[in-house]
């Protein structure tokens, strides 16, 4: 495992370098927007990575909240299975199919929904016990970093293309800002609250925060927004060369995000180890003073 991290780091640097080359040199220039459209090769992969991390945070939080009671954990397990079964079948049924926006494939919807139980069981298997909470805080923090990049690069693209930095009232932009604020408040709660219930409260907040993710993602499908309409699926006509560069760039950022999460996860484990060592030291200190006071109390008695 110790060797894997440096190897993956080198691979990531190479992939990010190559993604930059593809984005700036290989990808064709956009006929309407010119060179500035190349911002999407950083903006879109960052958004997708943030969504994925918030989704992982959601699953870890749900598992953390339900693990206290065997019956609740069992019920959550069956709900996850139920969501998977319904998600696999429902998108292909005509009444549900009519609700799916034009251009969005039912198979894509089914695959996305099936990811919920898949992640639910995978996360439970890979991160037992308190490691679920470690995973939750890790994915939220790294997710906020990627979401910050989305909120910074978006206006930098909008200014030359739209003529404005921000479109007030645009549902995609507003819901993304709200998502960022929810997860920042989640991190603030975890950072400054010392209550024994902090982890539970943070997990509950994360579950509500995650409800904003589908709204952010689907806003451009269901509403007419200033933000561009989907270019992948949904009748979008992205040049295949641009699409390849975009997907490659996402792969590079995904791997980079994984390594950052790995580091943050280890940091959180180390932090808890230090806190435990402090607690043990305090207990040992209390033990010493108790022993020291024992003869006195005996003599007093």
């Amino acid at each position: 495992m110790k060797r894997l991290f440096p190897i993956l780091s080198i691979v990531t640097v190479v992939l990010l370098g190559y993604a930059l080359y593809l984005a700036l040199v290989v990808a064709p220039t956009d006929a309407l927007q010119g060179e500035v459209y190349r911002i999407i090769y950083y903006h879109v992969p960052s958004a997708w990575t943030a969504f994925l991390l918030f989704f992982i945070n959601f699953v870890a939080s749900i598992r953390y909240l339900t693990r206290s009671k065997a019956s609740t954990e069992n019920a959550a397990k069956w709900i996850a299975i139920g969501i998977g079964v319904v998600g696999l079948v429902a998108p292909f049924l005509p009444p549900v199919r009519r609700l799916i926006p034009a251009g969005m494939e039912p198979s894509a919807v089914a695959t996305t929904i099936v990811l919920i139980p898949a992640f639910y069981f995978l996360v439970g298997k890979l991160f037992p016990g308190d490691r679920l909470d470690v995973l939750a805080v890790t994915s939220a923090e790294v997710g906020v970093v990627f979401c910050t990049i989305v909120l910074v690069t978006g206006p930098l693209w909008a200014r030359p293309v739209w003529g404005i930095w921000w479109a007030p009232g645009d549902i995609r932009l507003t819901s993304t800002l709200v998502l960022w604020l929810i997860y920042v408040s989640y991190l603030v709660l975890r950072r400054f609250s010392n209550s024994a219930q902090t982890q539970m409260l943070a997990a509950a907040l994360a579950v509500f925060g995650a409800l904003d993710v589908p709204l952010v993602y689907l806003s451009i499908w269901f509403f007419r927004t200033q933000h561009p309409q989907p270019v992948i699926g949904g009748g979008g006509s992205m040049d295949p060369r641009m699409l390849h560069v975009l997907l490659f760039s996402w792969l590079a950022f995904l791997l980079f995000g994984f390594l950052v999460c790995w580091s943050r996860f280890r940091l959180e484990l180390l932090k808890r180890e230090v806190e435990q060592a402090h607690a043990m030291e305090s207990l040992a200190g209390a033990g010493v003073s108790e022993k020291a006071s024992l003869p006195l109390s005996r003599s007093a008695g």
Binding site: T153, V274, A277
Partner: protein, 43 residues
């Protein structure tokens, strides 16, 4: 030509944010290791 400035700014901003965050991780790691060493010495 002016628009290229925005492209450059977006790419630079992305890496400034990532490197800043990585910097905070390194700082927090070294602080925790230091604390752990001090706790070890105290025993």
């Amino acid at each position: 030509m002016n628009a290229v400035k925005f492209l450059f700014a977006a790419y630079v901003a992305t890496w400034v944010i990532h490197l800043f965050y990585l910097g905070t991780l390194v700082r927090r790691f070294s602080q925790l290791r230091q604390q752990l060493r001090e706790l070890g010495k105290g025993k």
